[in-house]
Subunit: 205 residues, 2 copies
DNA sequence: TCTCAATCGTTCTAAATTTCACGATTAAGC
DNA sequence: GCTTAATCGTGAAATTTAGAACGATTGAGA
């Protein structure tokens, strides 16, 4: 196994998503060209990515959807179910709790944390809402791997600190502010404002 | 003016966000090292990015926050207010409509579109909800530049087609499925599942 | 005034990533 | 069976991106 780059892994997740869709449609074979049409990623890039996980394609035929899916999942996900903790049960946090796609995928929301006492104790879509102070304990008990920040920017750093203390290894940060964490913790920032402005700037040229 | 890469623009948006925060705190000067500490981007990268917009820093001193902010905004945003149309007023769509940060920034949500008749005609956070069929007309009338897809994956392609027809130039796609659009239209995919799985995979090594 | 330390800005180097070119393989059709 | 066209897989070239090194500049302090 060659060393697989971060970008290849990210694209592999797109291939997996696409393959599962194709499998649901009873499609048994797919070529790199087909995948390129669907995903917008170049066929060469796709073949190169896939080949880094092994030789699973057949010239003139393409890839077997189920087999390729299994191969990719075996490498990048390894049968894991990712346990995720959510911080902030406002509008966005609630939308995340109700996000339908998590159910079928390898993701399980194990707990939500919130400051507002009126929300604590409730169950939203099967996920219990706890006070933030209980986070370290609950996160250890539920073996959460990752956390989501869906609190206002003004509180994102303190929440991030709690997440790090609790032992989370990765954070998706929806707050529109940078957070500081040890470099052993990976952060993915998703700022709606920046995403839109970036798109706008890049559509202007 | 040198040609400015997409990544530099994206980072510039982070600098702007950071600078506006510093300005609110009455901070007048900032060095590339300070910005590096806050944003996690290296100081060399920051200086290089900034220098591509002109010489605005002073050795031994750093950058004036207000001046740098103005310079960056001048290049990447040019006083524009970006008009955005939202498709899908479910949990996620509603959260986006209520997203507080849009108010102060250069983004204006001009219309929302939804299939479910019970939601049509309502106003959420000042934004009117229209039936999807009216999209081309409303989008032209409101001069929307960009669109957000917050509908289920099963309907994302048909919504994308309407958006393209309506003349939108960029799309943020929250549906967990790839969409096909002409290459003149820029798409930014944000799939919560993939973001989490990517983080998990990359925290495993 | 002179030295020093901090910081910017730029050029060169290195690494990562994508694209290109092309050989290898395979099944279909004549 | 032979040819052909489609497709995979891969090594090399090209491009993009980040990083390192370093000179240039500036204000502070002796």
């Amino acid at each position: 196994m060659k060393n697989i780059s971060r970008r290849t892994v990210d694209r592999a997740l797109i291939y997996i998503r696409t393959l599962e869709h194709l499998i649901k449609e009873k499609r048994y074979l797919v070529s790199s060209k087909d995948l390129a049409l669907i995903t917008g990623i170049s066929d060469v890039q796709i073949r190169k990515d896939i080949s880094s996980f092994g030789k699973v394609g057949r010239p003139r035929i393409g890839y077997k959807t189920a087999e390729l899916n299994k191969t990719l999942k075996g490498f990048v996900l390894q049968e894991n179910v990712v346990h995720v903790a959510l911080f902030g049960v406002g509008h966005l946090g609630t939308a995340i709790l109700r996000y339908p796609a998590f159910n079928e995928d390898n993701i399980k929301l194990v707990a939500a944390f919130e400051k507002d006492k009126s929300k604590i104790g409730k169950k939203i879509n099967g996920v219990r809402v706890y006070p933030v102070e209980m986070a370290p304990k609950i996160i250890k008990r539920t073996h959460a791997d990752l956390g989501i920040i869906a609190v206002p920017a003004s509180h994102s750093q303190e929440v991030a600190d709690i997440m790090v203390l609790s032992g989370l290894r990765g954070i998706v940060n929806f707050a529109p502010a940078s957070i500081s964490v040890p470099k052993s913790v990976i952060v993915k920032d998703i700022d709606f404002t920046i995403e839109l402005l970036s798109l706008f700037c890049n559509s202007q040229r």
